[in-house]
Amino acid sequence: MRKHTLIKIAFAAIVAGASLPAMAQSGSSGSSGTSGSAGLGIDFAGLSTASGTGNPYISLPGSSNPGRMGGPIEGLREHFTKTKPSQRSSF
């Protein structure tokens, strides 16, 4: 368990380290105005749409991955699987 925690911390440090140069480069804050849709969130929204924000299915563990925690979408799947079929939509 301790080993798992250490590895998670190491991963977080790697990502934080990778992002530091970008943060330093950014200088003044705020992304408004000079180029079309900049600052409205449109230019980055495709990242979220491809990720769990607009595409929750990709966060689910595979069927060959038992004993998982699964995260919020696995929670949804388990919750709505427990409800009666008549309460679920079926397309």
Binding site: S29, S59, G71
Partner: protein, 258 residues
């Protein structure tokens, strides 16, 4: 009389013998039903969430929005994402790339596919259907200087959790981030968050605050066994920064090979 007793005994034995099989088949049926569930409505419109791609999954999505930002009065971006690692065991790193200015090249300095950036998200799952992530959007930008200068990389940390609400459910999401998640021209970090109420796993209503804009949306996964998610909504409900309320939509599709 003896024959009747024998019949009762045999019937009872058969029932006892078949009980475990019934239980097993019920469990297998539930498991099969769960694995068939692939269509999930979205938990947010623009805000990052604390879960994402893992090893063996791949996602693609397109986002579009009306805006007073070019002569087309609309713009969009197209993204792809894949995952490395297992967020249940240690953590997964989601790598994504976005092509910006999809249909807003008139009046902006970049045309279709000429500008874009990379996103990285390290996410891990926690007990209680919760997850936590740190990430950066907009690193490794390419395109015109004006695009690169005006779309600064934005670092964030975010936590998400699913909570049952009777027969319904909700996914709550709260984070902190800089740049695009903060007021324009303001240093430091700001809070963002979203709440999605799920009527079924395939239909959700969303309210979110991105650190700049308040948005509302409805998301639908039209197919129960195919991972397609369509989200339609309105952005900038507060008409901030002199802008109008705008129409927004996204379509995401995922693939799993695990």
């Amino acid at each position: 009389m003896k024959v009747k007793n024998k019949t009762v005994l045999v019937t009872g034995a058969l029932m006892l013998a078949s009980a475990p099989a019934w239980a097993q088949s019920g469990s297998e049926a539930a498991s099969a039903a769960a694995s068939e569930l692939k269509g999930f409505a979205a938990p947010a419109l623009q805000a990052p969430v604390a879960f994402g791609a893992r090893w063996g999954t791949f996602g693609a999505g397109v986002y579009g929005q009306t805006c007073d930002c070019n002569t087309d009065d609309a713009d969009g971006s197209l993204g792809v994402a894949f995952g490395l690692g297992d967020p249940d065991k240690y953590a997964a790193l989601e790598v994504s790339a976005v092509a910006a200015s999809l249909f807003g090249d008139k009046g902006a300095s970049d045309g279709f596919g000429e500008a874009g950036s990379i996103g990285l998200k390290l996410h891990t799952n926690l007990p209680g259907f919760a997850s936590f992530a740190v990430g950066v959007n907009g690193t490794g930008r390419w395109g015109s200087e004006s695009y690169k200068n005006s779309n600064k990389s934005s670092v964030y940390a975010v936590a998400s959790k699913m909570l049952p609400v009777g027969q319904f459910a909700t996914i709550l999401n709260i984070g902190i981030g800089d740049e695009i998640y903060n007021e324009p021209n303001k240093s430091g970090a700001n809070v963002f968050g979203s709440a999605a109420f799920y009527f079924t796993q395939q239909i959700s209503v969303i309210a979110e605050y991105t650190g700049r804009f308040t948005n509302a949306a409805v998301s639908v996964a039209p197919f129960r066994s195919f991972p397609l998610t369509v989200t339609l909504g309105a952005t900038n409900l507060g008409e901030r920064y002199g802008g109008d309320v705008e129409f927004a939509g996204s379509v995401g599709v995922g693939f799993a090979f695990n």
